[in-house]
């Protein structure tokens, strides 16, 4: 499960870490993800989810992806419901708390179509942290004594050599590729994140490749005027895609809140029929549109503007 340190170093050594432009289209970015890859997903729940990238990977019909995220919402539904992902590692997998339990998650897990490995939220964070630090594990003081640890033999109980305390060692997670959506970055991939960061910085530094989608690309001069705002350095990033509303129908801090009518209609449709409802949703909203812009058009300008008004209101007072 934990990768060899030398292999991790060699993989990193091979990446072009020079200050270079790396802007590609959404379709081109999908070629950075191969069938069978482990894929770390940025954001949390319905916030700063790299939805456009997930949407493009489903259209590119990737196979057997093993995905990890701190907390998983309808992005997980789409990944497993479309058949491109057969393994989720996360702490919580549901659409939200407002709609009961996701029938898409339930159907796919209960029938054994996918594997859902559950870790505590902090454990997921410490697994990315260990990956980012270049160490094979991190010790934590949660999960001990619970069945969450009992069914995760990959986590090891350990007696501290200094204090004798019982700790749990959680293995490093170094995804093959990370998908992260941010408010802005430059063409080199210097990424600035407003508001909640979740686990994105550790995820970016842990991954062997990073695809950054961004609401807008700004100049490198603008980045250099406020380098304290840069949360992910360019040399960790392999591809940059400009995708306005790239988290739709989820939120992007300070820019838009979740598109609640679309989410409610989505949940009603897929929870009504987790197979047929999901197929219809994918046909209409993922495979159907010619472009991401056309997908946004299906959500509708009125709903986008409402989400923008709510999103910007965080800065109103």
């Amino acid at each position: 499960m934990t990768q060899s340190y030398l292999k991790l170093r060699q993989d990193l050594q091979r990446r072009d870490r020079s200050l270079r432009e790396k802007v590609v289209t959404l379709e081109e970015a999908t070629t950075f993800v191969r069938d069978g890859d482990s894929v770390g997903i940025g954001g949390s729940t319905m916030s700063r989810t790299p939805m456009a990238m997930i949407w493009a990977l489903i259209r590119a019909r990737r196979k057997k992806l093993s995905c990890s995220r701190c907390i998983t919402s309808s992005d997980g539904d789409l990944l497993v419901g479309s058949g491109i992902c057969d393994h989720m590692t996360t702490s919580w997998f549901n659409q939200g708390i407002l709609w009961g339990v996701s029938k898409v998650m339930r159907h796919n897990v209960e029938t054994g179509k996918i594997r859902y490995d559950e870790w505590s939220h902090m454990a997921v964070g410490m697994r990315f942290r260990a990956g980012a630090m270049g160490v094979p594990f991190m010790p934590i003081r949660s999960m001990l004594g619970s069945d969450v640890a009992r069914i995760r033999p990959e986590a090891k109980e350990f007696t501290c050599p200094f204090t004798g305390d019982t700790l749990l060692l959680v293995p490093a997670l170094n995804p093959d590729v990370a998908l992260i959506h941010v408010q802005r970055c430059d063409a080199y991939g210097n990424a600035q994140i407003d508001g909640l960061q979740f686990m994105d910085i550790d995820l970016a530094m842990a991954a062997n490749k990073v695809i950054l989608t961004t609401e807008r690309i700004v100049s490198n001069d603008q980045i250099r005027r406020a380098p304290d705002q840069t949360k992910i350095p360019f040399f960790a990033v392999d591809a940059v895609v400009e995708v306005p509303f790239g988290s739709a129908p989820h939120e992007c801090y300070g820019i838009y809140e979740p598109m609640s009518r679309h989410m409610e209609a989505y949940v009603a449709q897929v929870n009504g029929d987790p197979v047929g409802g999901m197929k219809d949703y994918l046909d209409r909203y993922v495979y159907g549109p010619k472009s991401w812009t056309e997908f946004l058009d299906l959500i509708g300008v009125d709903e986008l503007l409402e989400a923008v008004n709510a999103g910007r209101s965080i800065y109103n007072d």
């Binding site: 949390s44 729940t45 701190c70 702490s91 909640l196």
Partner: protein, 256 residues
């Protein structure tokens, strides 16, 4: 004027849970009733209550009518003192900065263990539930208040799966498993207020809600409850508590 007796079970739950929080405390709150009750406490008797959310927020003041749909949304950062990474805010629990963890539960047992992962065993579950989220971390590392609806199928002798640890198998089993701190302190339901016996660590009734009998609580519970000789009665929700609660959640997002 609002008639105090006209309230939903969830409103009762939110109000009585809010009363358990003290001014000046640092509380780590889950989404739903805990978030709402902590915000209610801030606006009533605990203006200095510091609320943490696992999305990475310290000291938020949620805006009335704008309840967040999870603890990872921008609405959670309203008037906060600080936003930080999710791992960082969870590590505050481990370091010991948090007085009270506060969450809901799908299923609880006599030792306060919570299940939010599987109905039936993990090998062949009849229902796969969403999972722990930060629940396991909060319950492992802080003194806990749990707010949940009181139903027999939710109050079981032994949970199908321990997602978030209470006192595990009772006695010292929690500390012996590597969890020397924290543990279940209070369970608030729409029928009664519960604590845990100091030695056996089994759930005991501390106070009944107005009009609720011992038999009624026992009949809705799947294990034998401990009753103190001096079991009290909680004070009913006041007009002021209901008024402020309904301003916070006018659409009854969490209190329907």
């Amino acid at each position: 004027m609002i008639k105090a007796q006209h309230h939903t079970a969830s409103e009762l739950l939110a109000i009585l849970a809010a009363r358990e929080l003290k001014d000046g405390q640092v509380v780590f709150a889950g989404v739903g009733i805990p978030l709402l009750a902590a915000t209610l406490a801030q606006r009533l008797h605990a203006p200095g209550l510091t609320i943490l959310f696992e999305g990475g927020v310290i000291g938020a003041f949620i805006e009335p009518g704008k309840l967040p749909p999870s603890t990872n949304d921008q609405r959670c950062t309203k008037r906060a003192n600080m936003v930080l990474g999710s791992a960082e805010v969870l590590l505050l629990l481990q370091r010991g900065y948090v007085d009270v963890g506060f969450m809901g539960g799908a299923q609880i047992d006599q030792y306060g263990n919570l299940n939010s992962s599987f109905i039936g065993g993990p090998e062949h579950p009849s229902v796969r539930l969403p999972g722990t989220g930060g629940g396991n971390d909060i319950a492992s590392l802080a003194q806990m208040i749990v707010a949940m609806r009181h139903e027999k199928r939710r109050f079981v002798e032994r949970v199908d799966f321990v997602t978030s640890p209470g006192f595990l198998r009772g006695g010292n089993s929690r500390a012996e498993s590597g969890l020397p701190t924290g543990g279940m302190m209070r369970v608030v339901t729409d029928l009664a207020l519960f604590g845990f016996d100091d030695t056996s660590r089994r759930m005991k009734v501390m106070a009944l809600h107005p009009g609720v009998t011992r038999e009624q609580v026992q009949d809705n519970t799947g294990f034998a409850l401990i009753f103190d000789d001096d079991t009290g009665v909680t004070a009913p929700p006041t007009d002021q508590e209901l008024k402020v609660l309904r301003e916070l959640d006018p659409e009854q997002l969490y209190t329907a």
